[in-house]
């Protein structure tokens, strides 16, 4: 990854990811916050493309920007009477101090550890390999996750029923 064009693309995608994330928590309108969240999800999909995770980028757009964002917007619509304003509680300053300190610790640890990076080239297309992994090595989590999805679907329908 030594291309200067790649560096420009990375910083562009990082800006598209981080700045709307800041917008989610700083904007006063909750609808704007949900739109910023969609933009941030799309930025993360771009980051996945740079990391040669093509299938995961598609899944990110489909599931996160497609389904979860729409779900959030519908939930905002259904809780429409109050709290159109995206307010904060009284713990803004202590939370800022603590999360700032946590970020400093994260960056110090992550950037100073010498990770055992490899110089091999990544796989060009990941879809086939992911399919093989999901059905051979990771078949148990795969099946458990399908049961989890059925349970979540039934649970969400039952909880939000009007009775």
């Amino acid at each position: 990854m030594s291309d200067p064009v790649l560096a420009v693309i990375f910083y562009l995608l990082a800006a598209v990811t981080v700045l709307p994330a800041l917008g989610v928590i700083l904007t006063r309108n909750i609808i704007y916050a949900s739109i910023f969240l969609v933009i941030s999800f799309s930025g993360v999909a771009g980051i996945f493309v740079i990391l040669n995770a093509d299938f995961l980028a598609a899944v990110q757009v489909l599931v996160y920007a497609g389904a979860i964002a729409v779900l959030i917007i519908f939930a905002i619509m259904m809780t429409h009477n109050t709290m159109r304003a995206n307010l904060g509680n009284q713990q803004a300053w202590p939370a800022l101090v603590i999360t700032g300190a946590l970020l400093v610790v994260f960056l110090a640890v992550l950037l100073q550890t010498s990770w055992p990076t490899s110089v091999l080239a990544p796989l060009e297309t990941t879809t086939g390999e992911l399919g093989k992994l999901l059905l051979n090595e990771f078949v148990l989590p795969f099946e458990v996750v399908s049961v989890l999805l059925v349970a979540a679907m039934i649970g969400a329908i039952v909880i939000s029923r009007e009775d």
Partner: protein, 103 residues
């Protein structure tokens, strides 16, 4: 400038911290859920970055990310259903009003 593992890890750390601040500070329960989704995305970026730079031929990090996305979707669905149900009873989505368990 060579874009290495550290850049992606820093991006993940920044995203995670922004989401964590949103969870701690925001009053609307749906915005808290949005911040939790930001934290999930940060974790996914970190996982895929590790998978690509440390073991480029194994895709373990990406499989883990697929499971994280799936569990996050299930959790968002159930969490939003709970918020809608609570909103129907208490007419508010303000997390400071969800205080029935407070002593």
């Amino acid at each position: 400038m060579t874009i290495g593992l550290g850049h992606f890890l820093a991006l993940g750390a920044v995203l995670f911290t922004i989401g964590l601040y949103g969870v701690l500070v925001k009053r609307n329960a749906i915005v808290i859920l949005m911040s939790i989704e930001l934290m999930f995305n940060a974790v996914n970026v970190t996982l895929v970055a590790f998978s690509r730079f440390v073991t480029p031929k194994l895709l373990t990090g990406q499989v883990f990310s697929i499971f994280v996305i799936t569990v996050a979707a299930a959790e968002a669905a159930v969490g939003l259903a709970i918020i809608i149900s609570v909103y129907r009873h208490r007419e508010t989505a303000d997390a400071q009003q969800f205080n029935l368990l407070k002593w």
